[in-house]
């Protein structure tokens, strides 16, 4: 008996080790995400507090509309005259006032390559070097302040990274063009080399206004109060001075709180995104923990029954399991927490240079709660179920588990799956359910179908294992037959092991399908809707100002060019929603772009004409000739006339203005791209030769043939794909731990059987192969469901988002095959240790002790 319990303890240790890892990784992920996001969020708060620290009162243009967080958030306001500063300095209580302006400014490295990446990573910002010391958050560490149009200062990080030194001539690209200037100083931001890692270029006041906005215009007038004057009192003085204007006056504190809130709101999306992945890994861990404790409970129950201590033992089994799970949960959570925090501290440093990890007691509380609740619940459920089983049944031999086919499970899983499928169908048929959009309806349907499938897992596991394993006996003889039967014999365990895989692999395959479709849609759009050959990409992204309108004119004037149109983007509020508005050259764009004009005349896209995507117009009841109000940040509310309706918005967005109207209302934006069709007989090479000089002064701009253009856009999708896969890697690791766990449990459970087969002549290799094939069967059950889910849901999503840029569905066959092979390799790797261990089990330990 002692031998029995000793052996059991050893086995338990191993079993807990895996459970422990599963909990620790999940908790570590959660703790890491919380710490990382806390750190970034604190950095953002510090950033805005630092930027505006010296400001007691701020004056700015009237709020026009609030930009959605998907566009970066914040209230859009027009700029105000810089001269206001002088007027306000004279007021009572005002010590000093100075205008501040901010805009896109991207340093160009000495080798001519632009520094930083405006699409991903820290922003590249230009602003003015304030003369009023209290207002200027920067501090020179070298050189002097900029003065005159030909001098700039960089933040220390940018100087270090680009290699520019004081005295060098540096190049900076802004919305108004490219400028060469002397680097006269290097500055730090508070205690860091750069605010949140951003690349900062500082100009003197007049130069900043000219380069980043318009001469004489600023974003804000920052005011320092006199000693003893309260900011609130000064704010009120300024307000009454400015009564009659629509200018907005706030205290520095209000300004900081507001900008912090905007930054946090935008960042909330990232936080939620990361937390979702962390919770997915916890969920996957739950299946592993559940499997372990189900097994421990079953074993313990058998022992207790063996000891005939039947009467008191039910509660006993429950209590011991809960206590043990509590111990495992607490320990693993603590370890996971420490690991997660350590890792995220490193990551935070990489994301936001100079930040130090923010470790709040709250994050420890959450991590511990998640770990303990998940562990204890996953242990309690099987223990509670087991306590209902009569002890005699517990004494049964390792029989085939039939409890997995309960009516309740069938009903619940079946109805979830059916309801899910129904909603999915409704979504595809564009039916709204209650107030939910068809997209949300189909999303709910996917959720229901997936959860239903997982609930039905134990019912499906046996037929699936037998079915998938059907070729095995023929391929691998008795070894295959044993593996097939073993995978099928404990459906509940097979199902929860496979479910862990389904979740991680399902999401990966969904992303692969969506990614492939996105690429296919890009190809489809560019190939089928653009009749040209060459694209000049500004390389400045959405925020970066783009190429000045002049370039598109010059391009159009070339004899080698048949037609060209710039495409630019800005923001507006239309019908209460903040939206992106495209700007094109109406004379050429509708010839270059096949957007399926259904009504109106493109010639009407004049100073107040607007083109609208047909379905959007339908939703609002707009027709050609109707008046629509658009609110612009700079220009405020403007009445526009619907000039054109069109059916494809993949190239231009749902709202399009002609260049004239665009420049009137969104003067700061340049062309993000220039799309070009070459004259007959002109080769791409020759075109590149004449186009390159036109953009030679814009280092970030690139002349690309359509193939290169598509490739560069796809490269941006890659980054997202890699990020998502990296996040899911942990989940897949946990799922693989689940496989190891399940195999170890199976080996423990089948010690006698393995001994028997060894006694009658199975070699160690054959025992190992049996385990490996069992692992592969379980994994393929998970993989098949994951692939089905990924492909089906991907297809639905692409269909539902057909108007949002998904014009084509694509099945990434190679990637899915590679991903299947990778899963196979990982599974085999996971099976190595359990298989070797099974092969080494002493034959007699199986036969003895009976």
């Amino acid at each position: 008996m002692l031998k029995l319990s000793l052996r059991d303890l050893r086995a338990h240790l191993g079993r807990y080790a895996l459970t422990f890892f599963a909990v620790a990784i999940g908790v570590g992920f959660v703790a890491g995400v919380i710490t990382l996001t806390d750190t970034i969020s604190r950095t953002l708060d510090d950033l805005y507090a630092g930027l505006n620290g010296g400001t007691d009162v701020a004056v700015r243009g009237p709020g026009q509309f609030e930009l959605g967080p998907e566009f970066g958030g914040g209230v859009q306001r027009p700029r105000i005259p810089a001269s206001l500063a002088e007027q306000l300095t004279d007021l009572d209580g005002v010590a000093a006032a100075e205008g501040y302006v901010q805009g896109y400014a991207r340093p160009i490295r000495p080798d001519g390559e632009p520094y930083g990446n405006p699409n991903f990573g820290a922003p590249t910002i230009g602003t003015n070097w304030g003369v009023v010391d209290e207002l200027n958050p920067f501090e020179l560490v070298e050189g002097r302040a900029p003065s005159g149009p030909d001098e700039i200062v960089f933040d220390k990080r940018t100087a270090d990274q680009t290699g520019y030194r004081v005295g060098d001539t540096a190049t900076v690209q802004t919305a108004s063009g490219v400028r060469e200037a002397t680097l006269v100083g290097i500055a730090r931001f508070g205690s860091t080399d750069s605010p949140a890692g951003a690349a900062i270029t500082l100009f003197d006041n007049a130069t900043a206004q000219a380069m980043l906005a318009m001469p004489g215009q600023v974003d804000t007038i920052a005011i320092v109060a006199e000693d003893g004057a309260s900011p609130v009192a000064v704010r009120d003085t300024v307000r009454s001075e400015l009564a009659g204007t629509d200018l907005d006056v706030v205290t520095g504190e209000e300004l900081i709180a507001e900008s912090q809130a905007t930054a946090q709101e935008t960042f909330d999306g990232v936080r939620t995104f990361l937390l979702v992945f962390a919770l997915i890994s916890v969920l996957v861990g739950t299946f592993v923990i559940y499997t372990s404790f189900s097994f421990i409970v079953a074993q313990r129950q058998r022992q207790v029954a063996l000891l005939r201590a039947i009467g008191a033992s039910r509660a006993q089994v429950l209590t011991t399991v809960v206590v043990e799970s509590l111990a495992v949960g607490v320990l693993a959570s603590v370890v996971g927490y420490v690991l997660g925090v350590a890792l995220s501290a490193g990551l935070a440093g990489a994301f936001v240079p100079g930040s130090s990890a923010v470790v709040e007691p709250r994050s420890f509380g959450i991590a511990l709660a998640v770990g303990v609740v998940v562990t204890v619940t996953s242990a309690f459920v099987p223990a509670a179920r087991a306590s209902k089983v009569p002890p005699v049944a517990a004494l049964r031999d390792v029989a085939i588990d039939t409890s997995s086919r309960s009516i309740g499970r069938l009903l619940l899983g079946g109805s979830l799956a059916v309801a899910g499928a129904g909603l999915l169908g409704a979504g595809i048929a564009r039916i709204e359910v209650r107030d939910l959009s068809p997209l949300r309806v189909s999303g709910l349907g996917m959720g229901g179908l997936f959860v239903g499938t997982i609930v039905l897992g134990p019912v499906l596991a046996r037929p699936a294992s037998l079915g998938l394993g059907r070729p095995l006996p023929r391929l691998r003889g008795i070894v295959g037959r044993l593996a097939q039967q073993n995978a099928a014999r404990n459906p509940r365990r097979t199902a929860s092991t496979a479910a862990a895989l389904m979740i991680g692999l399902g999401i990966v395959s969904l992303f692969l399908v969506v990614n492939a479709s996105l690429r296919a849609s890009l190809d489809d759009t560019v190939d089928n809707r653009f009749s040209g050959d060459v694209v000049i990409d500004s390389g400045t992204g959405y925020t970066g100002g783009g190429l000045p309108g002049l370039v598109a004119h010059e391009v159009n004037a070339l004899p080698e060019v048949d037609a060209a149109s710039g495409v630019r983007f800005g923001f507006a509020q239309i019908a209460g929603r903040s939206v992106a508005v495209g700007g094109v050259d109406p004379e050429t764009a509708f010839d270059l772009f096949d957007v399926d004009v259904t009504a109106g005349d493109v010639a009407d896209l004049d100073h107040d004409g607007i083109g609208i995507f047909g379905k959007t117009a339908d939703a609002h009841g707009w027709r050609v000739g109707d008046r629509v109000t658009a609110v612009f940040g700079e220009a405020g509310p403007v009445e526009l006339t619907v000039a054109v309706l069109f059916d494809s918005k993949d190239l231009t967005g749902a709202y399009v203005l002609g260049t004239e109207a665009f420049d009137l209302n969104l003067p700061a934006a340049g062309d993000m791209q220039i799309w070009i069709r070459l004259a007959e007989g002109v080769s791409v090479e020759r075109a590149e030769a004449v186009l390159e000089p036109l953009v030679a002064t814009f280092p970030s701009a690139e002349v690309q043939d359509v193939g290169e253009f598509k490739a560069s856009v796809k490269a941006q999708y890659d980054i997202i794909l890699v990020l998502v896969n990296a996040l899911l890697a942990l989940t897949i690791v946990i799922a693989m731990i689940g496989i190891v766990n399940t195999l170890v449990l199976s080996v423990v459970e089948r010690t006698r059987e393995i001994g028997l087969t060894r006694a009658v002549g199975a070699s160690r290799g054959q025992v190992r192969a049996t385990i490996r094939w069992e692992a592969l069967l379980i994994a393929s059950f998970g993989l098949v469901v994951a692939l089905a889910v990924g492909v089906l849901f991907g297809w639905v999503l692409v269909r539902m988002l057909a108007d949002e840029g998904f014009s084509a569905f694509a099945l990434p066959v190679t990637q899915l095959l590679a991903f299947t092979a990778l899963t196979g390799v990982l599974t085999l790797a996971a099976a190595v240790v359990p298989a070797v261990w099974a092969g080494r089990r002493r034959i007699l330990s199986a036969i003895a002790d009976r």
């Binding site: 031999d397 390792v398 029989a399 085939i400 003889g477 008795i478 037959r481 044993l482 039967q485 073993n486 099928a488 014999r489 006698r752 059987e753 028997l756 087969t757 060894r758 006694a759 009658v760 002549g761 199975a762 070699s763 160690r764 054959q766 034959i843 007699l844 036969i847 009976r850």
Partner: protein, 246 residues
Amino acid sequence: MPTVAAGTVHATKVYGEDDTAVVALDDVTVGFPAGRFTAIMGPSGSGKSTLMHCLAGLDSLTSGQAFIGDVDLGSLSERRLTRLRRDRVGFVFQAFNLVPTLTALENITLPLALAGRDPDRRWLDHVVDTVDLRPRLDHRPAQLSGGQQQRVAVARALASRPSIIFADEPTGNLDSRSSAEILSFMRRAVDDLAQTIVMVTHDPSAASYAHHVLFLADGRIVDEMPTPSADAVLDRIKRLDRSGRT
């Protein structure tokens, strides 16, 4: 003199060390003649199972040698030992003889399947008919009675025509009728099919099916009896018991 199917020479098996050392086999030299049904009897703990395990290559001796035919088991690698068990040795244990996920037929042909050999159809038919299992071949162990399960185990042991079959209390869990069926079948296998069987048993009437009985006590062979009858065996056990106690 008949050839020896298996045997030991000065076989000693000690479990544990020093204080806790248990001498399970104490210098046993024995040979089991081919084509004979030998029973091993002795009190609990006398080393019967240990002797069988060592003879079958499931366990190793502390000193001395064990042979199957003329192969010295001590000289074999793990791999060769496994192959020898698979091809030349059959087993019947007291219980848990069968793989629960395989059908009766699959259990019977398990050693052959592991060897990747096709069963000899005629021999298999013969064995299956002899154990009277034909209607049960597609059933799983859980669907068979204890006696039927043991018959499947015996059939498995016979199916690969091993040079020797070891049976450790094969009827220990069975009622007397099922026991009688199994035992007479085993005896027939020896008489009609020229098998060699070594069987451990506590039951004198089971021993009476054997050609020959060996008596083990404290890890030593203390007596033997040719053509045993149940009464004579019982008598001998009582005598041995008495001498053991004095």
